[in-house]
Structure formats: C-alpha cells, structure tokens
Amino acid sequence: MANPGVPVDLILSKLAQDAGDFQARLQKASDVLLSPLETKIASTPYEVVYHEDRVKLKHYKAKKKSPGKGKKSPKLKTPLLVIYALINRETMLDLQPSRSVTESFLSEGIDLYMIDWGYPSRKDKFLTIDDHVNGYINNIVDFIREKHGIPSVNIMGICMGGTLSVIYSSLYPDKVKNLVTTVTPTNFDTDKGLLHIWMKNVDVDLMIDSMGNMPGDMMNFGFLLLNPARLMMDKYVGFMENMDKKEFVENFIRMEKWIFDSPDVPGETFRQFVKDGYQKNLLIQNKMEVGGQLVDLNRVTMPLLNIYGKYDHLVPPEACELLTKTVASKDTEDVCLDTGHIGIYVSSKTQKEFVPKIIDWLGQREGGKHAK
C-alpha cells in the first residue's frame, strides 16, 4: 500500500488561503482596534465607606428593582465581606457586566462589602500578616458590625485573602457568622502545583531584604512561567485569530488589564506567608503565630463552605481540601468545580454554579439553624 505522506499541496494551498484570510482579518482588526472599545473593568457602582492608610472598604449598592421603586431589600440580612488576596486586584470579580460575580451577588440581594487593598508602597514594607488580620480586617469587620448593629458578618475569602480569612476566623470566631473560602491555600505541603515546588527553593529573606516589597511585575512573570506555552504564546495566537471580533477584543483587553494590574505585596507579609506557609506549612498544623497569638484551627467553629477548582494550577485541590477536615466546625462542605484558579470567577459556565451555591448555602444558614 502506498504511503500517503504529508499532504504538502493541501497544506500549501491552506497556507495561501490562511494568508489571504489573515490579510482580510487584519484589515477588519485595524477597524476594531481603532474604534472606541468598551474595556472598562470594575464598573459596578460602589461607595467607599471606610478608609485606613491605603486600604479602602467598598460598599456596593444593591440593585434597584425598577426605577422609582427604591432599593431591593436584601435577601440575606447579614452582609457579606469579601476579602481578596494581596496579589492582583479585587476587580477580577467585576470584569464585565454580563460576567460579574459582584453583579450576581447584588442581583441576589446580597449586601456586599469588599476590601480594596490598594497599592502598597515602600512605606508599607513593614506591614505584617498581623497588621492585615488584627489591624485592617478586624477594624473593617468592627465597622460593618457597628454600622449594621450585628454581632457577626459573613466572610468570603479569595486565594491568599481566604488564608487571611481563615486566620481571622480562628482569632475572632465570634465575629464571623459563616465562612466561605474560595481557592484558598491552607495546606502548602504538596508538590501538585509548581508554585508550591518553586517557593520551597526561594531565599525569601534575601529577596525581601533587597527588594523591600515583593514587586507585582516579578510575581506576574512567575505566574507566566507556570505555563509559558499557553500564557505567553498560545494566548496571543488566539488573539491574532480573533482580533477582528470587537466583543472578543474587548473581553481580551479587560482580562489583560486585570492580569497585569499587580500591586506589590508588603515585604514582611510576603516573607511570613512564604516561610510559614510554603516552606513550613504551619497553618494547617495549628502552629502558625500571628501577632503573638497561635492560630488554632480548632477555634474555627462557624459553618464553612470551601470551594476550589479541579484544574487550578496555582492552588491545587490538595492545597485546599484539608481545611474542612482540620477545623472544629461540624457544618462544613467542600465544592470542587470543574475549572481553574480564575475560571471559578470569570467562566460563564462556572458563574451559573458558583454564586448560586454561595447564596443558597448562606441563605440556609441565615437563621443560624445550621450553625453549631
């Protein structure tokens, strides 16, 4: 039987056709790129209700039912405080109107607060995890409690912000009604994620002593290195193939805006996070100390919902799933979604599961019947 071989003619003719298509696409793309593009992110209106140093507390206004009929009454009386990571920005939850976690929460009548950590400068390099947890977060929680006249609030932590939330819940269990952790690393002793492997080999003391804060650009470079074939090349090939589609370009640029908007991380906070977390794995062993106090997960007694991504390359399931087994709370639930680290918040498929799950879970516990 004859060997069919590589169909060179076919490939060449396809290449010629592709070149023609590309030229036409380029022409259309120039029209798209030169036209006004809607690429604004974090466009849901909010009010800054608390301000301390660089840190702001955003309060989102609940959506109006219809013009002139006033605000929609909250479905849950207990407000939800979202604590984002100190890496990248909380604007990820509100990338675009149709795919916005913030908007979804508001349309479900959640009274939503969100911490904006701002952009740490050199003067913030001495701030430790203690300053963030016992300082900013505690002050913000007290502010919300006082404003609403309630003893405790619901907290949702994201990634490193989730780790801070777990620490806070252990130190101030009475002030947290329900805790939702999303893609939150608590068990750092795993070699499933490259970050966990790499961080063990980093001389964090030398790094922070010489740099002061951990530069955001450097962290971003590290994140790109986690998968250079996809993140530094294939992604842009995809862009080239679709750059004549206005909606695609707008969404792509929104994502680029968010990804590369990376504040520096305060040096001392980064040092402790890497040493106590990635290098010594102290938190899950109840051995971590914050502000001179032991962080004991046996003090986390409130209901806990732990959500993570099956394909998360930054915080793999192995880094998240031990938490529910370690805390003292009897009302815990693990939810593993079929997505990655960012997909949980931005993929349209996951949006249909993620927010409704949190709303239902919090709703069931609003009266406190599920609480311990």
Partner: protein, 265 residues
C-alpha cells in the same frame, strides 16, 4: 573557434569540478572535526595560551565535533531527530564562561582597594561583580527555558512522521501548530520539575537579589554625596512611623477601654 555549446559544457564541467572539490574539502574538514586526535593536536599547538581561554575554546570545539559527527548521521526526515539539536554548545560555553568568571576574573574585582575612595570603589566593584553574575545566571536560566522550544521541534517531527506512517497526517497548518503547542507545554511541565531547573531558578533569584542590593548600595552612596535621602534613610523613617502608629493605635485602644470602664461605673 570554439563552439559555444562546448564552451558552456566545459564551463559547466569546471564548475562541477570546483564544486566537487569544495565539497571534498568540506568533508575532509568535517571528518577532521570528528577525529579526537585532531582536537588534541589543535590544543597542543596552542598550549602557550592562558589555561582559562583554552578551557572555553575546548568546550566549544567538543560541541562542534559532536555536531559535525551528527551531521553525517542525518538522513531521512524523522529518523534521526537528535541530529538537529546543537548538542549543549551554548549551555556548555555559558557554564564554562560562568566558571571562568567565578574562578578567574572575579578575583580582580575583589582586590582590596586603597585610599580615600576605597569604600566607594569597593561598592562599585561589588555591584559590577553582582551584575556579571546576574547576567550569567540569567543567560543560563533563559537558555534552559529555550531548551523545550528546541526539542519540541524534534518531537513534532517524530509525531508527524508517526502520523504519516499511520495515514493520519495533519492537513492544516493550524493542526501542526496545535500539536506543537501541546508538545511544548508538556516539555515545559516536565522541565519545571527537574532539579536543574529548580537549581537554576533558585540561583537566578538569589543573584538577582544580590545585584539589586549591591546596586542599591552604589545609588545610596551617590545620593549621600548630594545630600539626598537614601533608601535606607527613608526605610528608617518608615519604620519609625510604622512603630509609632502601632503604639498610638495601642494607646487609643487602651484609652477607649478605660473610657468604657469609666462609663460603666
């Protein structure tokens, strides 16, 4: 009169002869490259050169020798994909240069400085040293990152050859790209867990931090001469502010608690 046809044919013949002779010379040269005796002879003849330079040249020559040997093996596409890889030439040359710098040139930058400007000169030398070591480590690290790109090309060839043999050859350029990206991703994932990569990453980060600190020292020295606050000066102020703020917050809390107690009385 010479016939123009004959003229052309004799011209063609002489061109062919010249080409054959040229190819033969190249072949001889190529064979010479692959003979270990030639390598030894060549290095013996240049013995008077400094040992350090010889070390580098030797590395380059050895890689060239392997490369030329592999050229002879190259034949049917996909059969010997390893022949398309330049065997560690850059990597060996870079690590030789790096060793050479660490063991030879670096000593010159560590010569104790004398006189009024000795502190400044030492700082500048330290910064220069840190810069070269950072450049070396970064080059080695980038080369390591380039490796998967180089080797993925060979694996793509193998994959395509195997598909062609099974009568399932890709028909569109996009398919070739898709296969290549998958191969490349796999190669990177494998590389990122290797001890070589982890060592290189750790080293690059370390020397980058050292360079950063050394450069800061030089800049601070310069700023001091112009009576401009240095990073260290500012860090001291920031630290004082940080500690004062904490103290004030603590006192505020104490006052609040005391006031609360008074009210309850």
């Amino acid at each position: 009169m010479v016939d123009s046809k004959d003229n052309a044919s004799s011209g063609g013949r002489s061109m062919f002869e010249a080409w054959t002779s040229g190819m033969k010379s190249l072949e001889t040269l190529q064979s010479a490259f692959t003979m270990p005796d030639a390598l030894e002879a060549a290095f013996k003849s240049i013995q008077p050169s400094p040992e350090s330079v010889l070390k580098m040249a030797e590395t380059g020559w050895k890689s060239m020798q392997e490369f030329m040997g592999d050229r002879q093996k190259a034949g049917e596409p996909g059969k010997h994909p390893e022949t398309l890889v330049f065997p560690n030439l850059y990597q060996d040359a870079l690590s030789s240069w790096s060793d050479l710098y660490d063991n030879e040139f670096r000593k010159f930058l560590n010569i104790p400085q004398l006189g009024l400007t000795r502190f400044h000169q030492e700082k500048i030398n330290r910064s220069l040293d840190a810069f070269v070591r950072f450049q070396n480590a970064m080059s080695e690290f980038l080369l390591l990152l380039y490796k998967p790109i180089e080797t993925s090309g060979n694996e793509l060839r193998q994959e395509i050859t195997s598909r062609v043999e099974n009568g399932d050859s890709p028909k569109e350029p996009r398919e070739y790209y898709g296969i290549w990206v998958k191969v490349l991703e796999k190669k990177y994932m494998a590389l990122f867990k290797t001890p070589d990569y982890l060592q290189s990453l750790g080293k690059t980060m370390r020397v980058m931090d050292e360079y950063h600190a050394a450069r800061k020292d030089v800049i601070d020295s310069l700023l001091q001469t112009f009576s401009i606050p240095t990073t260290k000066d500012m860090d001291d102020v920031y630290q004082d502010m940080y500690l004062l703020k904490k103290r004030v917050q603590k006192l505020e809390k104490m006052v609040g608690d005391l006031k609360g107690k008074q009210k309850r009385r």
